[in-house]
Amino acid sequence: MNHLPLIIKREYLNKVRNKSFIIMTFLSPIIMVGIFTLVAYLSQLNNDTVNTINVLDESEMFTNQFENTKTLLYKNVNGISLEKAKKLTQEKEIYGLLYIPKTNTIDDLSEAITFYSEESPSITIMGAIENTIENKVNVLKLENAGINAQQIEDLKIKIDTKLETFDGEKTSKLGSGLKLAFGGVAGYLLFMFIIIYGNMIMRSVIEEKTSRIIEVIISSVKPKKLLLGKIFGTTLAGITQFLVWIVLMLVLSTAISSIFGIDTSAVSTPQQEMITQNIDPSSQQMITDVFLELNNLPIANLMVMFVFFFVGGYLLYASLYAAIGAAVDSETDTQQFMLPILMPLILGMYVGFFTVIENPHGTVSQVFSYIPLTSPVVMLMRIPFGVPLWQQLLSLAILFATFMATVWFAAKIYRVGILMYGKKPSYKEIIKWLKY
């Protein structure tokens, strides 16, 4: 008698046909795309406003130094007093007034420049203005010291140590970050999946208890099979939902951007803009490095292990939720368990980002890449640095064995939980039960 496919099928259909599940499946992408569209639209609105800034430059050092940009216009108001300039700026509802007084030395300038405005100005605008002033002042100071600024620029050398393994494989410093990315992505995906579907598994395990069908079911099926069926069935439903989400979001965002002309991918933050503004020419080099690095990564190994560790990690955490579901009588008892379960995963991420990057093959990294609750993240971060296959397989074996052990343990709790009549079982009894 093979009950497992039967149970999986029932759990799957039960989830997929559930009205709230269907509603969420179709509503979530609409809401998500809606929010993105809104954000994109709003930031476009924001970007379209052109701010004018009056510049009162009494030092007369910055004439024609401020270049107009798409969103920023500089207007020279030289020749009038500060008071008049302020009044003028206010009356004409101009964004702000930049006041550069005449000072004795250049050094005094740094203290003396003032920006007047109605509200506090945005970081991007101030950044742009300060940049311009600093550059100009630096050049002036160098020239005052009798040095040609252009010469200095020409003399600068960018040191980029080339890294190479003994096997002759080229790597780069940049690679370390890139290498951690796989583990990080796995970690975040796990996180998302568990947060969305862990609770669903838990509820599904409680279902038999609340509908009081438990004795009928348990007299036909082994609890272990029931729990496994629930974990797999719910997971399949989750994957279905996830795929629908991805497809729907792609379709919707394409549709919206083509209809309304709003590019949802163009959502960018001011910080990003500042970074892109400040990128130096070596960024070209960086991009080639990234591709070089990608080529050097054991892509096939990573992909396969990514799948295995992701699935294993997910199943393990899912089985923990199932165990909680097995131990409690009603859903109200479960809320507090949601977060603590995720803590080891968060720990794994931190270990990955702080320890693995320091020393990918150190003791801490090694240990955490075997501990099943953290290994899905840590091992995936270590693999790009080169981990022998037997270690990877050992870690996987531990991961899946722990998953089975958790399900087995949950099944025991499940069975005992129904029959204990609310009495706390003694340890002796638990051991006895575990043997049954």
């Binding site: 279902e207 069908i213 079911i217 007299s219 069975r415 029959l419 009549y421 049954y436």
Partner: protein, 309 residues
Amino acid sequence: MNNLLVASNISKSFGEFKALNNVSIKVPKGSIFGLLGPNGAGKTTLIRIVNQITMPDVGEVILDGKPLQPKDIQHIGYLPEERGLYKSMKVGEQAMYLAQLKGLSKSQAKERLKYWFQRLEIEGWWDKKIQELSKGMAQKIQFVVTVLHQPKLLIFDEPFSGFDPINANLIKDEIINLKNEGATVIFSTHRMESVEEMCDHIALINKSNKILDGKLIDIKRAYKSNTYKVGLLPNNSEKLEILLKEKFEIKPTSFKTINKESQYNIKINEGDSVNDLVSYLTTLGQLTHFEEVIPSVSDIFIETVKNNK
């Protein structure tokens, strides 16, 4: 082997609480076996042990000559007292699912479900959700699911709760019918009149111990008190009672008749002949009613449990 199920020396504790203490029962093949006892006596624990939901601390269960095994669940149909169905599933789908869990193939399950749904006149429910049904209606589905895989052993824990008298009768007839087709039934209930009507054997459990078991008719024989219910139109109504009291232990009683006779329960001594009583009674007047008082299951239940205290 005349016994389908033999449970010997079963003990089971939950923590400090002893739910079953050295209980043994034998359920003969093809019988309806009444498992009786006050609330909390341990009946459900015993039933769960037979269903392998829980495991005895001590003791052994033998089904059809062999120790009970996990795969035996397909030979057992169990209707627990705590029962329910998946609320959001459709009736037909759910019945198919539960039937397949018991080892039926899809086509078998469908065929038999059709038969039973027709038999109980519930064909129209196939596509309804359980939450749309009343409790009694859901119980019917539950009954069908319990018997569908034609198990050798059927265990019903309070099968009639939630049924109106008509449906209770319907289910009762179905149970008797199943027994006639060869199934063995264990039947746990507090409704003594159905025990009276249906059971061949009973076991009485009180405070974790079995205090009585055997064929119902033997038990009744053992519990009879040589008492007879008598109706008499006396020749001399004033002297009648005095005369009777001289010879027997009597108690006034009452039952419905069409005469205005004197009515007594008369107990004769062990070894005395019933014929002597009858011939003596005829000398006192016209005998209109004579009946042996047979103890009811309810009486036996109450008496044994009281004496067990």
